[in-house]
Subunit: 256 residues, 2 copies
């Protein structure tokens, strides 16, 4: 039985894709069989791992809408234990096409049953919205990791997201747990970063991961080489912080 983790936050640019790619890669480096699903039509997780999103034969869209078997869409990566289901702009149409479908929120959940035994972890990168694709991720997942950027607007967004998660728990997926909040782009020279860190830790207590991801330019350079940070610069602060996060995930079997 795979642990299915959705990486969610409707606030844009907070590090969802960066966390999805680098947590997946760190879990694979620990020899956990890991599947990364790119559920964002921007296809950033797909290109961040070196694939050309315009040239992939099948994407998650084909599985969700056309019924193509998800096992035939798995792409291998430079890491032996990491596979990817890619996405591209064809996914833009999916939200509208799913609206008319019965059980439109649980399509992804049913798809993933076909690969559940093959993986230890399935990580789902989501778009910056609370639409049908993100709802699909939240219904398929056992738990959710929320990246929160150390900035003012990011604090605002947490309350909105909590409300969505409890709606999903009430109506679609009672098992869904919050695995944790991970603070991202923390800049120790900047007061605002410290204020946000303190406020989130005070308010959310043990739900907040101990690992804090620092602002680190190597993390933003890595996707332009199509590599996760551990293959681009394994000694960087960014790589170290994602190893630590992976360790916390491995140690706490499925969150609170």
């Amino acid at each position: 039985m795979a642990e299915i983790i959705a990486i969610c936050n409707q606030k844009g640019g907070v590090g969802k894709t960066t966390t999805s790619i680098n947590l997946s890669a760190a879990l694979a480096a620990a020899e956990k069989r890991t599947l990364l699903i790119d559920l964002d039509s921007q296809g950033n997780a797909t290109t961040g791992l070196g694939f050309d999103k315009h040239k992939v034969e099948y994407s998650i869209y084909n599985a969700l809408i056309d019924g193509v078997d998800i096992t035939s869409i798995l792409l291998s990566t430079d890491l032996k234990y990491l596979k990817v289901v890619p996405s591209n702009t064809s996914l833009v149409g999916a939200e509208v096409e799913l609206v008319g479908v019965v059980s439109r929120e649980t399509r992804l959940k049913h798809l993933l049953q076909a690969v559940d035994d093959e993986f230890d972890y399935i990580i789902i990168d989501t778009p910056p919205s609370l639409g049908l694709l993100t709802l699909n991720a939240l219904s398929a997942a056992n738990s959710v990791i929320v990246p929160v950027q150390c900035e003012y607007y990011a604090l605002e967004g947490i309350a909105d997201l909590q409300r969505t998660i409890s709606l999903v728990q009430d109506r679609i997926n009672p098992e869904l747990k919050i695995f944790g909040i991970v603070l991202t782009m923390f800049d120790s020279r900047n007061n605002l970063s410290h204020q946000v860190l303190t406020e989130v830790k005070t308010h959310f207590k043990e739900v907040v991961f101990h690992s804090v991801i620092p602002r680190n330019v190597r993390l933003s350079e890595a996707p332009s080489y199509g590599k996760p940070i551990l293959l681009y610069d394994v000694n960087s602060k960014g790589a170290v912080s994602y190893f630590e996060l992976a360790k916390e995930v491995l140690m706490s079997e499925g969150g609170s």
Copy 2:
């Protein structure tokens, strides 16, 4: 006749709200009658100007869905020539509610006709997606300003956005022009920033504004005080760069 400018980019966290607030404030400081419309359910433009998004009586949702007159929703700000139409999480439902409505893409366009004569500029902040709300903004607008963060993923997103803009030009709003691309969060110490700047200027030539918005911590602090940068720290690099951007907007009537 107001110049209606949509601030769009489906990539998250690139500076749409920061540009919407600070461009609007700079135009108002130049004594142009300016209206800022918050079309994002996150309500960041609303809180960034000091309003409590949970306490506003009416929001853009009420105008779009309930037919409340937009003139009764205008909020005054600390700047004499700047008014705001607020938003909050009630807007989350609008995309689904609009799906069944006739002429769902042009609802906002019709609403704005009621205030067209009262303002010189109407600026629309949009969410990080290409859904019905952003389509409403693109159909109501005369032109679009695209903030592009000086990062790798932001480059990827430009092609997707261009495709959407040409679809809108073909099907809904033939008058829509690209006013310009504004580079944001430029960090002169970082190679990636310079690479993105060069690539965007080479590829998009005169469509790119001369003004480049630097990464400046004062810009990210200002919203926590509910103020635009020119009221929070008028001498900061962030404030100066948005004055420059406003000057370029004022000088070139409505873009290419």
